[in-house]
Symmetry: C2
Subunit: 372 residues, 2 copies
């Protein structure tokens, strides 16, 4: 029987069963014990950890061990610049910022302009570079420490990435990328090579420091296949395997699958206006009933509701308040219209502030960009 | 029936039938008409053109057309730095130098340290880089104009090459490299991508000048498959297809196949001592008879003789003198021993001078190296 959902770095469709994904990808569940170990160094726990949004990992215990031995990790994550940043993209970056605040890590952020050019038929390299610089503002806006944080485009930092990437590439066969990503023989040879480029920054901290430095990669679970390959290569190259901390994907506003820049209504972009947000959230899929009367009587279903997911993932960080909203929905004491207005207000408050920081980021962009 | 010879960029075995190769690769024979067109601009013709060592081409008429219209070509060739340069490698470089003397072309020389790392299991990138710098001395020693000539290593010039390479890569599928090079699924993903890197410099002149500049690639016929791919990609990318001028491969001293750095006795390295040369040439395969008596009576066979091939390809540039040697061999008036001593003397004269120039090249290396 075919799976009823697909999760690859380039495609997320269907209702994702995240527990099944842990089994399929061979990762570990983030247990209370793992959370407690993190909390010893970073308290209080970030809401996305507490609520199991970051729910899966590889080698988190080892990362904490290393930190406790004084060999702390650097953080690496990235973004494929195919369009505007949307709110779902921010989730791992927000966690990176929180980690940096507590662990004082170096932070490397990869903008894969080559990837988006290679994988999207109609995109030019000029376009993906333009998006990369636009997306960089969103990263900076989150407040990373400029002394510890470095952002780079693959095509601009290639002189440092390529020598690492070819070492990784030498350890990966076409059979492997075929098995891991489902590639066929009609894939272009750049896209076949590309996973080596995404693996490379996992070893960048070690290469730049000339010693083996642990690496932690917070990222969407859909990116795990790249790093499974990176971990295999790491062993063969004598580097530490990168550790991972995976988040569930912020669902589409239209109700199923991951948010996607390519389906405009499904996601909220960080550059959206208040009017855009209103329109998108007002059109969102909810767990409401066919009529107000029925909803007052039977209550709504927050468990399938895109609006509720936004609260759960990011926009109501207070647990009691979230529980209250859940109960109000279930009991039929709040209608979808009101609930949506509330989300519109919270998202716009967040984005207005983010957009101001984004503007200011333009002045300090160069401090963050890694080119030499 | 399987072919009795194999010619790929990574393997040349068997007695190569060069006429068959023209048919197989779909190239054109260098005709008298083509030679006359070249000679109009570069007279007298180089001995390797006159003698059909450079025997095959793609679009040479077009290259001359462009030159005559005032849109002259740049020259691109290269070397996979897996060991010392040997005399066979010099042949296309010598032709490039001769072309530059007459046509005043810009000259780009690619040292594919990434390729040799990716394709040779045991080679490290440090080793291939070391060989690249060593090989660069042989290029410079040939006397290229430092103002017009640029040498680069792939890993060091990657910031300019990679953006071109990914554009090429996007136009090439795994099916294509499988068909052209015979790759299977157990090839590493770096080697699958690599042909895009070898294609890139064919468009470098155009990228750097911001206009479409014709490109001529003199190279061993074994490298043609890469440039067939580059030519296909060129059309799709809006660049001129690179033109090619292919040489036959200097045969192995041991009698069949191409000279190879990996079989020491089969080739003469540019850094060999006089003693090395003596040993190698004295052990060379010849067209001699089983005994001196028989040879005096029946004559030798220069057509199968590795020593004669050295004369033909490079070491007796005077046609009358070459014919005399041919006749002396056929008539049994010269024995292999004497003929070998003569070649040893000619090769050592050439190499002693080359080695002096190679030493001096160290002082000007930086003038030639393209890194920015």
């Amino acid at each position: 029987m075919p799976e009823d959902f697909i999760v690859t770095p380039w495609e997320v469709t269907g209702e994702v069963d995240y527990d099944k994904l842990i089994v399929k990808f061979g990762t570990q569940k983030v247990t209370d014990e793992v959370l407690q170990r993190i909390e010893k160094h970073a308290s209080p726990l970030h809401v996305m950890l507490r609520r199991g949004i970051f729910y899966s990992h590889r080698d988190m215990n080892w990362i904490i061990d290393q930190h406790e031995k004084g060999n702390t990790f650097f953080i690496y994550t990235g973004r494929g610049p195919s369009g505007s940043t949307h709110i779902g993209h921010l989730m791992p970056w927000i966690l990176c910022k929180w980690l940096q605040d507590h662990f004082k890590n170096k932070f490397y952020f990869q903008l894969t302009d080559d990837e988006k050019f290679l994988f999207e038929e109609k995109k030019t390299l000029d376009e993906t570079k333009k998006y990369a610089y636009d997306n960089a503002l969103d990263i900076i806006a989150l407040g990373f420490d400029p002394k510890l944080s470095h952002i780079f485009l693959d095509t601009e930092y290639i002189h440092n990435l390529y020598p690492i990437a070819v070492k990784v590439a030498k350890k990966i066969t076409f059979s492997t990328v075929r098995a891991v990503f489902g590639f066929n023989q009609s894939m272009n040879v750049g896209s076949i090579f590309y996973t080596s480029m995404q693996a490379a920054p996992a070893f960048l901290g070690s290469v730049l420091e000339g010693r083996n430095v642990p690496c932690l990669i917070p990222c969407g679970i859909d990116q795990d296949p790249h790093f499974r390959i990176a971990r295999d290569a790491a062993e063969k190259l004598g580097y530490f395997k990168p550790a991972l901390l995976h988040n569930k994907l912020l669902p589409s506003l239209s109700g199923s699958g991951k948010m996607s820049s390519s389906i405009p209504g499904s996601s909220i972009s960080t550059t959206d206006t208040e009017a855009d947000i209103k329109k998108k959230i007002n059109n969102a899929f909810t767990g409401g009933r066919v009529s107000v009367e029925e909803q007052r009587k039977l209550g709504g279903n927050p468990d399938v509701c895109a609006v509720y997911k936004y609260y759960l993932y990011m926009f109501i960080p207070d647990d009691k308040e979230l529980q209250k909203r859940y109960d109000e929905c279930r009991s039929g004491s709040i209608m979808c219209g009101e609930c949506k207005q509330n989300l519109i207000s919270l998202v716009w408050t967040f984005l207005k502030d983010h957009q101001e920081k984004r503007e200011k980021a333009k002045d300090v962009l160069e401090e963050f960009m890694l080119r030499d």
